[in-house]
Amino acid sequence: MLMEIERIKGLNFHKKQDVAIVGAGITTFKRRLNETGKELSYYAVKQALEEAGLGIEDIEMVVMGSAPDAFDGLHMKGEYLLDGSGGSDRPYMRVFVGGGTGVFAPIAGYWHVASGLADVCLVVCEEKMSSCHPHPQSAFKYIWDPILDRPLQPNLIWIFALEMRRYMHVNNIKHEDIALVSVKNKANALDHPAAQLAERITVEDVLNSEPMALPVRRLDVSPPSDGASALIMVAPHIARQLTDDPVWVAGVGWALDTTWWTNRDLYFPRYVAEAARMAYKMAHITEPRKEIDVAEPYDPFDYKELHHMEGLGLARKGEAPILTREGVTARDGDLPTCPSGGLLGVGNPIAATMGVKVAELYWQLAYRAGKRQVAKEVTRGVAQAWGDLMQVGTVVVLSNKR
């Protein structure tokens, strides 16, 4: 199997203007919320506008991110969500790369502003998974190849069990090393007001939790959730009017690996490495482990945080569990990782996890994360998501120095 990176060519980059983030919003993440998806979007947008000191009339363009239509049970979900997202009478578009959407939507917001098309762009992400019955998991039955995969009745959990097994096998990693991620993130989430599954648990709790598809157990997994989040992205001259401390988008990157997911080795997320290479090149980062101060890698499963840290170049292959065990990734460590509490602790409303990835990074770099603020001084951070058929990597690098 070809595992080298640097297959993606032509990362030419001619931007019109820099892009700053000046406000963010997030709703509570819960298993089931009474609010409709439109209402959730409205609450998240309202909060982001308040933080930025803007009104909806100041918004020029809107990007909406939301994952499969099957969750909400409506085709053309983007159009359905338009009014609550502030999209009426504006250039508006929905972007969607499955679980990668929460970081892809701000990438789309970035190109709206960097290109000079807009000076003020609102990015909204929404997911209402609880509408889907008998279980949101059922919607994933319909993402597979209908001829080759679906007759075998695949389930997303056991697909990830295969990947986790491969990661453990190649790097000789034990389940207890992986469980430490769940312990850390659920504890971090105790300080997040939006959190759904914040709790103090132990490695033993994870190892003794209900088996789902071994090696995956209940506490290795993030929960399905309802929720929304929002970001305001602006041009430099607007940022100057609004705040003395904007956070700048230093780099963006995204990449997709082949749809034939069985045909790649699963132990290393090459697509994340490619996306990171693009974002780091733009951000002039050559040694991510040294130059990144805080990270929000995508953690729908505990092993995924480790897997993604290695894809992002924050750890060598097989090294992420060691950094975790040594406390390097703790909130007071040298490389705080998922200080938000992540998807494992705060919840996993697919696209809306933008609120615990890119928005969290923004709050950390603006020193507005409150009780979740990491101990060390921070200048640069990376946020990442992953999705589609385990094939997309989406990466954003933010910096509080322009």
Binding site: K30, A161, L162, R165, Q196
Partner: protein, 156 residues
């Protein structure tokens, strides 16, 4: 900003129930047609080799996704090695499975590809990554030209 307390019973909320009532007919395509006919009629496995870079795709495809060249069909044994496996104890609706199902990614001999399928005739404790396995097919009369014509893979 006020949000409702955690509600786990949908019946507590004002709601209506609804369905999207559609069904689909999926075709297996040019490569799939050849593959499934060979499997159904002859119990044979086909892969497809790129005429440019030599990469051998399994399941077969009519094109190489990397250089966009055509491929030619080649016969393979159908045997392979376990690359990874999972022991599923819950179904898609998170209900307990009476008998856990073992799924594996199988690295197919003579190809650059893998297939996902069930493992059978072995206990979960005995499975190892790298283990050699071969397919068990339905009888010729029962085969329908579907991936489920392969019942499972078992140890060689």
């Amino acid at each position: 900003m006020v949000f409702n307390e955690k509600i786990v019973d949908a019946g507590e909320l004002k709601h209506i129930e609804g369905k999207i009532e559609l069904y689909w007919i999926y075709t297996s395509g040019e490569a799939g047609d050849r593959f499934f006919k060979a499997l159904k009629d002859e119990g044979k496995f086909l892969a497809a080799k790129c005429t440019c870079c030599g990469k051998t795709y399994f399941p077969p495809r009519i094109y190489c996704e990397y250089d966009f060249s055509e491929t030619e069909f080649v016969e393979i044994s159908g045997e392979g090695c376990v690359r990874a496996f999972a022991v599923a104890t819950l179904d898609n609706n998170e209900e307990s499975l009476k008998n856990p199902e073992i799924y594996a990614i199988i690295d197919m001999d003579g190809t650059d590809g893998c297939i996902i399928h069930l493992l059978g005739e072995m206990d979960a404790e005995d499975i190892r990554v790298g283990m050699k396995v071969k397919p068990v097919l339905k009888s010729k009369e029962e085969r329908e030209g579907r991936i489920t014509d392969i019942l499972y893979f078992k140890p060689v």
